[in-house]
């Protein structure tokens, strides 16, 4: 199979407007992933599926990852010559910058026809709050149907073009996305309105305030 670098070069030639970058994987025997921009993701996915060389007809795994914003401390060192003629001094300067957070979807693609793979496709959202819409790849690979519903449910990424985007594992009335790193569990998951509230209210009205002692 072609290496990720070769695939990236071919994608760059085929889709000049698309931004395709390689995400390295430092693990032993790790494969680099292709990071594509959301606007071209579906075109590129169709291309990868139909291309006679690759024929990636099988999407094995689709999952989300939450990358919250992170404070990165960068240390820069500079040497200053001592004007008095002593040894030069090194000065460390620490700068802090905030790396913006984003959500990411990872697709592991294989080919059943050619029996090779994987090619790892990544798509990222703009941020974690309001730009969380990505194109759905369910029209390309049907196996994404439930997996993208699960990502929508647990990570809160909205997939545009998904045929039936509902919560998969949590119930429909649930709010929040439990797989996000900053998710806080409620005190009681099982609380739900019951008729007791109404009954208690009625009882209060029925038994009016007790009479004060000592009045005739």
């Amino acid at each position: 199979m072609e290496t990720p670098e070769q695939i990236q070069a071919r994608l760059a030639a085929r889709f000049p407007a698309a931004a395709v970058t390689l995400v390295p994987n430092p693990a032993p025997a790790g494969m680099a992933a292709l990071l594509v921009d959301a606007a071209h993701a579906r075109q590129i996915a169709f291309f990868l599926r139909e291309d006679p060389e690759l024929k990636l007809d099988y999407c094995s795994n689709a999952t989300g990852i939450d990358w919250p914003e992170k404070e990165i401390v960068e240390t820069t060192r500079s040497t200053l010559a001592d004007p008095a003629g002593g040894p030069p001094r090194t000065i460390e300067q620490k700068t802090k910058r905030i790396q913006p957070g984003y959500l990411e979807v990872v697709y592991h693609l294989y080919s059943m026809a050619r029996k090779h793979g994987p090619v790892i496709l990544r798509v990222r959202t703009g941020n974690r709050t309001d730009q969380v819409t990505l194109p759905s790849l369910t029209p390309v690979w049907r196996s994404c149907e439930f997996q993208e519903r699960e990502i929508y449910d647990l990570f809160g990424i909205t997939f545009e073009g998904h045929p039936d985007l509902r919560r998969l594992l949590m119930w429909d009335e649930f709010t929040g996305h439990p797989m996000r790193k900053d998710y806080v569990e409620p005190d009681d998951y099982e609380w739900e309105p019951t008729p007791h509230e109404e009954v208690l209210e009625k009882a209060k009205r029925h038994y009016a305030a007790p009479e004060k002692e000592g009045t005739p």
């Binding site: 790790g30 795994n61 997996q147 509230e197």
Partner: protein, 387 residues
């Protein structure tokens, strides 16, 4: 605080609905406690007379956010949790997870441990397929007897697991870089005894069941899955091969020691429920062959890599996706490490859930009784579907 109490409209019910195209239909909520749904699984079925015109599965009754639990414990701490995914096949779940972590850390596995893994995985396959055959017959209405025959054989294999790992179903046996407990010669002899007797059991079972007229009438041409849809929908395991697609990870990836063993991959020709049953019966015969070869060739030696780190295990940053051919399909684990003792992301690729993608496509046009058999032939375990 006053809140009006309204019963949820999606609760269990049977109600008449009107559809401008079909006319009067009946909507049935089947499950989550229906005996034929193999656990807490619910199907919203819309029926025209007795035929299914719409079927929407509802999940989540067994959801406990397994992936979040995995992110909040150490790598080793997740190993016993993987038993609870597909509780029929804890050995293969363990192996898939161990394989993913070994890929992440570049951890080799000694030869004897690899042999033990193959033996345990094939025993798991025998166990799972035998039970599936029993459950499927139960779903067709053959009450009790075939299932009890299957469970009799299953108990023998579970006894082996108990003798080796201390637990029948929640084995927690594999470790990163090997296995937990070595097999004694007596245990291997016991495996040999069961493997030698298994062919006779399969002969008996097939003689009783496979040619049975009622089974043929109920399963042939029911729930036909086309190869193109199967590939696109990511169907894996015996269900995919019953549709005629030759894709077995034991051959394709050649993980573990599978390239050393001589076995064939049975393929179906029609993709119907009968093929799904038959492919599993044939796969069991191949598993017996693999077990014989593995038992004859298993060497002595260590079962753990001496350099493997059990405590304080922190893989370097990176990510890995490990997958194996489980009895139900491709079970995969996707791990991202950030250098801490816990994985940053821990994802299970559940074969049961993804195989259910096509449930509606298979059931459309069939009767409700057929939908029960089709669901039975997909082979799901809800511990894995809902995670």
């Amino acid at each position: 605080m006053t809140t009006a109490f309204t019963p949820t409209p999606s609760g269990a019910h049977v109600r008449a609905v009107h559809d401008p195209f079909h006319g009067d239909l009946l909507e049935i909520s089947m499950g989550p406690h229906h005996p034929s749904t193999h656990g807490v699984f619910r199907m919203m079925v819309t029926l025209d007379g007795e035929n299914v015109v719409k079927l929407k599965p509802v999940f989540g009754y067994l959801h406990r956010n397994h992936e979040k639990l995995g992110e909040n414990t150490s790598y080793l701490g997740s190993m016993p949790y993987t038993d609870r995914l597909d509780y029929f096949c804890s050995m293969t779940n363990n192996w898939a997870y161990a394989l993913a972590v070994e890929k992440l850390a570049g951890q080799p596995v000694p030869e004897r441990a690899e042999y033990l893994r193959v033996i345990l995985a094939e025993l798991t396959r025998l166990l799972n397929h035998t039970c599936l055959a029993g459950f499927l017959l139960q779903d067709t209405g053959a009450s009790g007897t075939p299932l009890m025959y299957a469970f009799r054989e299953r108990e023998k294999i579970l006894d082996l697991f108990e003798a080796l790992s201390g637990s029948r179903m929640m084995c927690n046996y594999q470790r990163f870089g090997g296995c937990r407990i070595d097999a004694t010669p007596a245990w291997l002899a016991a495996v040999r005894g069961i493997v030698d007797g298994y062919g006779a059991f399969l002969d008996e079972y097939e003689e009783l069941i496979t040619g049975n007229e009622i089974l043929l009438a109920r399963t042939q041409n029911v729930g036909v899955l086309s190869p193109a849809l199967a590939v696109s929908a990511g169907i894996t395991g015996p269900m995919l091969r019953a549709a005629g697609v030759d894709y077995d990870l034991r051959k394709v990836d050649g993980y573990g020691l599978y390239p050393r063993f001589d076995f064939r991959v049975p393929l179906g020709a029609h993709g119907d429920t009968y093929d799904r049953y038959m492919v599993r019966m044939l796969e069991m015969r191949e598993s017996i062959g693999i077990l014989r070869q593995a038992l004859a060739a298993i060497p002595d030696g260590p079962i753990m890599d001496p350099k493997a780190k059990i405590r304080g295990f922190r893989p370097k940053p990176g990510e890995a996706y490990g997958r194996i051919e489980g009895p139900k399909g491709e079970i995969g684990f996707y791990l991202i490490s950030d250098g801490t003792p816990n994985p940053y992301r821990y994802r299970v690729r559940p074969p049961s859930l993804i195989n259910l993608t096509v449930l509606e496509d298979l059931c459309l046009g069939h009767t409700l009784a057929d939908a029960v058999i089709i669901l039975g032939s997909i082979d799901i375990v809800l511990g894995e579907v809902d995670r």
